[in-house]
Amino acid sequence: MLTEDLKIQCTELLPAISFEEGGEWLNAYVASEDLKSFLGKLRSLPGLEFDYLFCLTCVDWKTHLTMVYHFTSTIHRHNIVIKAKLDNSNPEIETVSDIWRTAEMLEREVYDLFGVKFIHHPDLRRLIMPDDWKGWPLRKDYEDPVNMIKL
């Protein structure tokens, strides 16, 4: 499906959606409360059927965090990027691991490195840092004078 048609169909599903210009694929901003239901519709509706989540990550913009999800459809071969803004002081969002099983480990990694809490995640704990590590390493305000040697 072409980018224009995707835009029209997404606006029909969620009128509060906003789009970002430029970029290789369609980039859409969704509010974090509406994310789970919108993504469920993206997965199941015929014509959209985004069944392959290939990248789930987070970007720290110092005033807020942004979750970024990259999807592709193995049936229709179109791609879409969904983003959601989160609050810096208490970042929480609903998990999507019941729709795409790959999100289980990807969300654990984001929790480990950024501190984003995923509600209803089956097993949310640290993945790659040691279990008793303090702090969220990939945030921009992370300071570690013991381990990090700055150039």
């Binding site: 840092m129 390493p137 381990n147 990090m148 700055k150 150039l151």
Partner: protein, 183 residues
């Protein structure tokens, strides 16, 4: 000592052989014979964390064979190994595991630090929060091999250097053992 760690006058077999009637007599120091035997049959522990592990596997294969130096039997369990070749980066989560493996090895044990990461943190020195800047923060090291990754010939050179050090009695183990003689 020259580059291979052997003294110029060191012979292949540490001892004097005297032909006498009815056989022969071998005169030697027990320490030298034991060191000679130990250095020619060191069994490495298979400990490879990252890229240098592939070069260690290349040394084990047919082109740069290390079994001609006595290292053929690579053991997976530390209880049966003599030398641990630290091939790869050590991170904060792995350091207690490395210490535990070293403690489980039986004396005498020797350590080779292979690659830039094991010497000093290597390419991951600046701006990393999880890398231990050198394996010798965790366990004492006898031989260091520079390179990222070092060539298989460099690893062979290090093995021969370690053998020379054992024969000359200069590894950390041997210095520790003999320290009661010179307090």
């Amino acid at each position: 000592m020259d580059v291979t760690g052997k003294n110029k006058e060191q012979k292949d077999f540490p001892g004097e052989i005297h032909e006498t009637a009815g056989g022969g007599i071998v005169l030697s120091k027990l320490d030298e014979v034991i060191n000679w035997a130990r250095s020619n049959s060191l069994w490495p522990l298979t400990f490879a964390t990252s890229c240098c592990g592939i070069e260690m596997m290349s040394v084990a294969s047919a082109k740069y064979d290390f079994s001609r130096f006595g290292f053929e039997v690579a053991r997976a369990t530390p209880r049966q190994a003599d030398v641990i070749i630290i091939a790869g980066t050590i991170v904060n989560k792995m350091a207690p595991v490395l210490r535990r493996l070293y403690d489980q090895m039986a004396d005498p044990k020797y350590v080779i630090a292979m690659g830039a990461c094991a010497i000093s943190g290597g390419p991951f020195f600046y701006n990393t929060y999880s890398v231990v800047k050198g394996a010798d923060h965790v366990i004492p090291v006898d031989v260091y091999i520079p390179g990222c990754p070092p060539r298989p010939e460099a690893l062979l050179h290090a093995l021969i250097t370690l053998q020379g050090k054992i024969k000359a009695g200069l590894t950390r183990e041997q210095i520790k053992e003999n320290s009661y003689l010179n307090p």
